[in-house]
Amino acid sequence: MTRQPFRRDGHRGETLRFRFDGRDYEGYRGDTLAAALLANGVRAVATSVRLGRPRGVFAAWTEEPNALVQIEHPFPEPMLQATTVELYDGLVARGLPGKGRLSGEADPARHDGVYAHCDVLVVGAGPAGLSAALSAAGSGARVVLADDRPVPGGSLPDTAETVDGLPGAEWAAAALAELDGHPEVRVLARTGVLGYYDDNYLVAVERRGERASSRERLWRIRARRVVLATGAHERSVAFAGNDRPGVMLASAARAYVNRYGVLPGRRAVVFTANDSAYAAARDLAAAGVEVAAVVDVRRGGGRSWDGSEVLAGHLVTGVDGPDGVSSVTVSPDPGGGPAGGREIEADLLLVSGGWNPVVHLFGQAGGRLRYDERLGALLPAATRQAVEVAGAARGLSTLGRCLADGAAAGARAAEAAGFRAGRRPAARAEDVAAAPAEHVWLVPAADYRGHFVDLQRDVTVADVMRATGAGLRSVEHVKRYTTAGTAHDQGKTSGLLTSGVVAHLLGVDVAELGTTTFRAPYVPVSFATLAGRDRGALHDPVRVTPLHGWHVARGALFENIGQWKRPRYYPRAGEDMPTAVLRECAAVRRGAGAMDVSTLGKIDLQGPDAAELLDRLYTGMMSTLPVGAIRYGVMCRPDGTVFDDGTVTRLAQDRFLATTTTGNAAAVLDWMEEWLQTEWPSLRVYCTSVTEQWATVALAGPGSRAVLAGLAPGLAVDGASFPFMTWRDARVADIEARVCRISFSGELAYEINVSAWDGLALWEAVQGSGAVTPYGTETMHVLRAEKGYPIVGQDTDGTVTPADLGLGWALSGKKADYVGKRSHARPGDLRPDRKHLVGLLPDDPDRLLPEGAHLVATARLPEPPVPALGHVTSSYRSAALGRTFALALVSGGRERVGERLYVPVGAEQVPVTVTRHVLYDPEGARRDG
């Protein structure tokens, strides 16, 4: 006795072992998990999401709404359709109650992506798609053929029809071999197109398997022309018990018999409104399934049928059997309900309510659809994209017409892309005439709670009636009210059925009602696949300076500034961050420290109008800056808020170097280009980024002059020869350098710029002087905050003006205009209650305020809404002050110096005193050493 009791006689293959819901089974290579389960007589595969009803395999490919499984081994993956999981040896899976669960373990598999370009993309390798690809390929065009199945042919292996005298599957294999011979053709099997976006950009997922270099690959395909040969899905009918395991689409049963050699049952009833189900009945009968009756909605029945009884003009009014079909109740239409019906014993009920062309991608592409009364289906109509729809996807129902249509579409697409299609004759097949189909959406009954329209979401006709009863008239609203069509299957089997039922309930035409919007993804896709290689260490670029290796070797801990890694502090053995930062701060204030500031943005401006451009963009006057000098500058947006700050160095009469904050380097260059190109094209100035051309070392502290003198013996470093805010060319550590005397700490300080290639040599020389402590961004932040120097983006947000920051001195009154000036004269910018940058000293000198905390005026919190006066922007421990301190933006803050305010922290009101924002060396005595 075979171990696969529902395997068709004579069907053999390589045996694969698998485990489902804790039991061991065998299947054959080439099976899907669903096929193998049916071969073993497993009927109930999953339970439904809302009602917990047992559910079986309903379809044979991606349209499956029921048979959801979770893979446990070899890799955990939730919510897959058993009908699309290719069986492999050792697979462990279990059925799902509607929802899966994410694994707690990291998925070790690689996922990746590829960009592809082609003249013609053909989606679907069924009869029409293969024909399209063959005729396009013959033109020499670059063709991509993407198909989601493991083998080509689309429905041909399901129907076992004949093409050009060959069994369909053989013809498809030969067509594929021919395509593989074209050097400009790429065939992507197991590759489902899931999104169709603007300008013929399509995204597809290739399932490559465990042994490939990546388990799944996301193809991003840009096509000049697209041929959609996506076929059609059969749809169900809403009748009582239509969700029982054993109720199956007729075409799916045919696929199990022909493609997989599996009998989905022993004794079948066929319920149909068209002729295609008769072919399924014939194939099932030939495979040994007893066809008990064909129940045909149409009074005239279907084409000649020499099998069992045909009950024309009948409906299925009930299905019995708790865990699977055991009998089917049939009544004449209009039926009197189950009581008046006849019960037929069966374990399988095939349903065919009609065919829905797969227009999802066409809809996603912005194509309009029209309802065709004769076909009872939505067909593609107008579109703005360069796309052809061929075969069953545009409503053709016979094989011969699909083959011819595909060939013509492929030739048209190649020609539209500028190629000459050859005269390859289209493949041929014999078409059989069919009787006209009827369109039945639901079987009338007194109680609609067992008439399912969306099996995955457990939506019944009763639910739809509740929606229409609540006054909803649009299918989009009904979808949201009932959730019909929102599951992983995106309503492939339920979408039009829902529309049909709504139309029936409202007494309107389906054509008038339409259907819901098609959106990507057509099939479910994992986030891992969408992320591709952008995971882990490659999630986002990590930018490092030429000195990075040194920082790492010295145990620096890093801070992320945008994509940059900057040393935050350099802990010594046993030091935590506060200890290390206090030590680094003290070293700079008492001796000398050095910091890698290479990340600062640097823009080289050249041209006779460079000074004019800077005058317009910075709030201060730059044109009066002498060659050899440096000036601090602030840039505002037109609305007057601070955009960025930095220094401007005049290198020559017509050449400047502007620095930016680390995070804004690209934005400031773009800003300059934007104004130059769009507003002031007559200004003769060119801006070039040199951010990474230079490595920059900040040398700060009263001891820095001696260190510099030691490294640059040729440079006169005394205060008179090298004053504050000037620069000198020099050799430092025997490296060509530009030394700028600027300070971001209030101490005597220099910034030494050398070629990035020489940055490490300079840094090592500075460290080698023996008197210099390396310090990081945290120390820099403390030192600048002690001096009240704001950090753009930390002490500012999109509302803060230079005047708010106490930088009124940096606003030129002499210039007629600069970007932002007009806004600084608006009443809103002159209000006395604007938030000013001030200092805060907690009463408890050891109390570190949390950044972002609010400030209130009273020691006791009033009832909400609590009037907040501002918030803490920066908060540190200061070695120089011997206490904690903070900077804050406070309403009318400069008028509040000396006032006591409170910072609510948890349940506590922490008392603080407002001070001026410059807390350390307000006279500026230290900057000259």
Partner: protein
Amino acid sequence: MTGERPSPPARFEPVSDGDLRIAEVPFRTQVNLRLDPGGPAAGDIGRALGVPLPAEPGTYGSADVDVLWLGPDEWLVVGEPGRERELETRLRDAAGTGHVAVTDVSAQRTTLLVAGPKARDLLAHGCALDLHPRVFGPGRCAQTMLARAQVLLVARDGDEFMVLVRPSFAGYLVAWLLDAAAEYVSGQPG
């Protein structure tokens, strides 16, 4: 200068397989050039370089240097290492008093060589441009994205590409390239 120049910015073990080579070509001289292509300096500079400034977007010309189109008024002159001074001077002399910006940016980008029959396949993992030889063959260059880094991509003869990238991004980009290259290097799953 006291010491040797540091290791090349990208610093990695080069890949040299039958179908794929990846290596760094560091320290090449690069000079950024901006001027009005319709102005009088354009011709003089072209003559000084030995090749006219390419006017067609996305192309480059070659003499003893490559002159790459970056924008309608911007080019990158690329030469062997160590020629910064000489090229800057040559260009400034040719520019005369015209409104021309000449900027040494040699350390602003490093160069990665990606070559071999699989080079296009490898780059296609992260580059949205059509790299088919009919579209992006020798003589073409483009500023675009490769993975998540901005690059200047240069197609040369013999399935050879030069990928110019900011040194700060080089470590990331090399890690990305090596990860993507795994399937093209022999002994790895395909």
